[in-house]
Assembly symmetry: C2
Homo-oligomer: 614 residues x 2
């Protein structure tokens, strides 16, 4: 096979790539780390990938490298990003870690190297038939189809590569499609991304689809946050002119930063990213895909669809190989989305004999109750407090976040900080510990009011409300005192109340008692640590035997990753989505009473929290 050198002249810099003959310029540019605009997915339709060879403008997607080339890329043909996501630790815990490889390894995008016999007069089937005939020997599949774009230059690609090619197969609608054909053997390079698209937090992971290794994780606040902190305000924003476009761009910008950052850090070419899976709630999926979400927030609260067709990354403005396949975990209903289905897949609740509960603590607190025979799902508007958003000193569970808090009898505060450096702020698990310790030391009362009579300079009057200082400016890297205010406490109290009352209401709906539940999985973006005992103490979680609880970390991301690595897992997720019954708790007459009753630490009815009372 012939190899050629392509030199790309960019505004202000120059990059090079060595590529096999028959490679198109879009792929060659990706290999040089350059993202050329190609909104149509490199199908020769959008005309955005214009580059200049000599004096002549050509489309990069339709131009094949057949000799050494110098290609000028005009500024308007380049994709441009800003930076922002933070490095993060791996989130998977407990049973999810064990289930990680529960399904047969078969990534949603698979590369197959074929060394084909050259055609002869006696073996004169078409090029595509030759490929499919050989593929048939290597892949058991329901059907193999392809798009026109993958056929146009097939003849040249095959002949320039001496009939040694790599076929990129994407799993879609129950079968395989040929999504690309690359010259030579490129099977060694096959990468994918798993995304958890939360209302408040977006997490992305770069995965080596060959070794199944997680190469890196990034976490960022969803940039849509500036358009509202919960899904309702986001929908209102998206319903206004250009709101949908802005919302879409905000979250894809989150994703693209992570992709850019992680591929850069790991030395992976964008052109080798062929598979992306996304798990997110229904509103996030609508906004990501620019589907009008208006009907979600108006009675009777209807999403346009709960299952989203797989698309090319370029259709959603996501940077990867333009022919890559983006798949979405299907959801259940308006407020139980693909993130929760991913969570059920990850923890295996749907296979349990005993009654089980999955509680995902996010901007919406979602709950799934059930076992192998039935499942019910519900949601409560918890707000982003436990994700570290909307609080004076809140932050994500990344380096610099206070994740554990202890307060001794002398009211000295001891903090454990992620990464071991000086504190920048407090993450969700830190707030749970902090509330628990403040209650224990009498710093706050059951209503969440700070006792200004305690003997400590930490309790003080802030600008408008009373506040408590965890760490003074000199001890931190925050450039200010790290505090918690009565407003923050109120915010956290409402969050924990919403989640707790949703759990109890859903149980009541099916006539079950919390003590009948054999297993409770706690999911959420708490990093590596969540103190269940403390979460019970503040009334966030029901007061049952502690052995019932298991903290499983970010199960949405885990489910997306499992699906990325196993088409069978992806199919199982589809079955899970179909078997969960969605319950609208706001229509339950007892829910509001339950909520109001839970707006105390731990609860107005202490009999519900016997271990806390004692």
């Amino acid at each position: 096979m012939k190899g050629f050198n392509v030199r790309f002249i960019l505004p202000g810099s120059t990059k090079e790539a060595a590529v096999a003959g028959g490679t198109d310029l879009l792929s060659a540019a990706m290999k040089a780390g350059i993202v050329i605009s190609a909104s149509c997915g490199g199908e020769g339709l959008c005309g955005k990938c214009k580059v200049i060879i000599g004096q002549k403008k050509v489309l990069a997607c339709e131009t094949i490298v057949e000799h050494d080339l110098e290609v000028t890329i005009p500024r308007e043909s380049l994709e441009i990003h800003e930076k922002g996501a933070a490095e993060s630790e791996e989130f998977t815990k407990g049973v999810v870690l064990k289930r990680e490889n529960a399904y047969p390894y078969f990534p949603l995008v698979t590369k197959v190297y074929l060394k084909l016999a050259a055609p002869t007069a006696d073996d004169n089937v078409s090029d595509l038939d030759r490929i499919c005939r050989e593929l048939g020997k290597k892949v058991d599949s329901l059907h193999i189809s392809t798009k026109l774009a993958n056929v146009k230059f097939l003849s040249e690609t095959l002949r320039d590569s001496d009939f040694e090619i790599t076929v990129v197969l994407g799993y879609k609608e129950g079968g395989f499609s040929i999504i690309a054909v690359e010259p030579g053997d490129t099977t060694g390079r096959n990468y994918g991304f798993a995304f958890d698209i939360g209302t408040t937090t977006v997490v992305g992971q770069l995965i080596d689809l060959n070794s199944r290794e997680i190469l890196g994780t990034r976490i960022a606040f969803n940039k849509q946050a500036s358009y509202g902190s919960d899904v309702i305000t986001r929908i209102v924003f998206a319903s206004a002119p250009e709101g949908l476009e802005k919302s879409h761009k905000a979250v894809t910008s989150n994703m693209n930063e992570m992709i850019d950052d992680l591929t850069g850090a790991c030395g992976v070419n964008l052109g080798d990213i062929y598979a992306i899976t996304c798990a997110g709630n229904m509103t996030m999926m609508h906004l990501l895909l620019k589907i009008d979400p208006s009907a979600i927030r108006k009675p009777p609260y209807i999403p346009t669809t709960t299952a989203f067709p797989a698309i090319h990354s370029s259709e959603a403005g996501i940077d990867a190989n333009p022919k890559s396949l983006v798949s979405f975990l299907p959801g259940v209903g308006t407020y139980v989305g693909g993130d929760i289905v991913a969570g059920v897949l990850a923890c295996g609740l749907f296979e349990n004999d005993g009654l089980s509960l999955l509680i995902d603590i996010g901007t919406n607190g979602e709950i799934v109750l059930g076992n192998r025979d039935w499942m019910m799902g519900a949601a409560a508007s918890a707000g982003p407090a436990f994700e570290g958003s909307g609080l004076s000193c809140g932050m994500k569970a990344v380096r610099g976040a206070i994740q554990k808090v202890d307060i001794d009898a002398g009211l000295n505060v001891k903090c454990d900080i992620i990464g071991g450096s000086k504190a920048l702020g407090v993450c969700g698990s830190g707030y749970i510990d902090l509330l628990c310790q403040m209650l224990k030391r009498g710093i706050i009362d059951k209503a969440g009011k700070i006792d200004m009579n305690i003997k400590s300079s930490r309790a003080r009057r802030g600008e408008n409300v009373n506040e408590f200082v965890l760490a003074f400016k000199s001890e931190t890297d925050a450039g200010k005192d790290i505090i918690i205010t009565e407003d923050d406490i109120e915010n956290l109290k409402r969050s924990k109340g919403a989640i707790y009352s949703a759990i109890i209401s859903l149980l009541a709906k099916v006539g079950k008692d919390i003590n009948e539940v054999a297993k409770i999985y706690i999911a959420g973006g708490f990093g590596n640590y969540l103190n269940i005992e403390n979460a019970v103490s503040i009334g966030l979680l029901p007061d049952v035997k502690r052995g019932v609880y298991e903290f499983i970390g970010n199960s949405s991301l885990a489910g997306a990753r499992m699906s990325l690595l196993s088409k069978e897992a992806f199919m199982v997720a589809d079955g899970i989505a179909k078997s969960i019954t969605y319950i609208d708790l706001s229509a339950e007459p007892t829910y509001m009473d339950e909520y109001v009753a839970s707006l105390f630490f731990p609860h107005t009815n202490l009999r519900r929290f016997p271990s806390v009372r004692s």
Copy 2:
């Protein structure tokens, strides 16, 4: 349902359309008879459908009509065509006419009107699920899928139309996809086109998919003709820089003229054209779809693919609803294409008990021999003479063409002209009669040379060669004498020789004699008339019992039409393509000898033509 008025301001004119709320501007423009560029198929990807509302540029495909509007369409957003196709009569004859409705009526694109119950708190499935649930009651189907583009505005379309919609279903890869959702009941308007894309001739038919009526037929010489008259020269041209693009544009321009002309003449809106089927030879399909055809003409003669994925019309630059589905009859091998598969479908050869032969007389003369158990296909390079191309006074079988010729003993020429008007030229069936009569009257000898000693001023010396006058200028509308030259006769002799020798060689290959053949179907663009007796007399067709022969007209077009109107017929065509074995006659040692022996009228070996000899 609310209706709104959209006024389109074009460069130099104004058009209006009344549309239902929820209609996108691309469809609204189509309703007003305006074709806006949308190469991506209205998926919001290509950005070509820019229109101006007020001062603001928006994409027509992403803009929904919600009130009366005035929309300015800039010149660069418009598709522009030239004119040229001629009206034609219907071509189907004999058994094909009987088989026209042999398969269950189920067009490749079907519209289903749904009056959906509005969602309630108790019936809160997603919009798409609501549609699919109702569709499931009305359509038996393998699977229903949809693309993202059809989901984006679904919520608005449903609510603006009070949940009364028409779902447009397209048949593709063995199942149905939702290709569009229209507000209100539009089932009364569903139209399609069937195309026969020949090397020399392109024929298009507008079909009412509800009534199955043929609304009109147009025929034109393939504009690629200026890039070569046979597939080899076309491939050479297409292999040069920009040649492929030019070849593609030439044939789509043919198609678009016919679409424009027929929809205009029949008062059909382009936006109501959702289905197109094309039958054509392998090279024509490669050029139409911009697939590099180079390997077809180099040993061992390999096409990129013999089966072509269904596409949106916009992907190939064909004017119709941008979401319409264009399907292609699959082919067998390099020189037996989808046109021949369509022909086998149309005449039913593949179901015959007795040995049967299909002979399609076109630029390539293709032959299929076989029965219900086996089929073999082969081709010979006949050239376009019998299509009326490449001859001094040749023309298509349309109004003004001499289709029958009689010459009496006094050498007076009597012509029958299509449409009954004065002659413009001679079509294929006219040339067959003419050659036969000239032989009979001794005007030409067996080698095709004109006897200059005959007593008629019709035989004369032309510019370079001898010629014979059929009709003098004053008798015609041609503005010149209508003649046949010795060069024309040589051309026709080679054509008939290529076809006859291919028939005999294929029979020899399988050890069969021509007299064992129970049925011979003759297909080709001869209009309504072909004199089999005369065709045998000149040695174009073998000298067997005349009752064996049946003239079936343009069977490629008929097969395309049958597939358009029946998904089952389309599936049967797929099976036919797979069961024909392709034979490369050029590799047969006897073929060249047979060809040379047939370069006489009727043949060097008169024992092969006993009825002619007598």
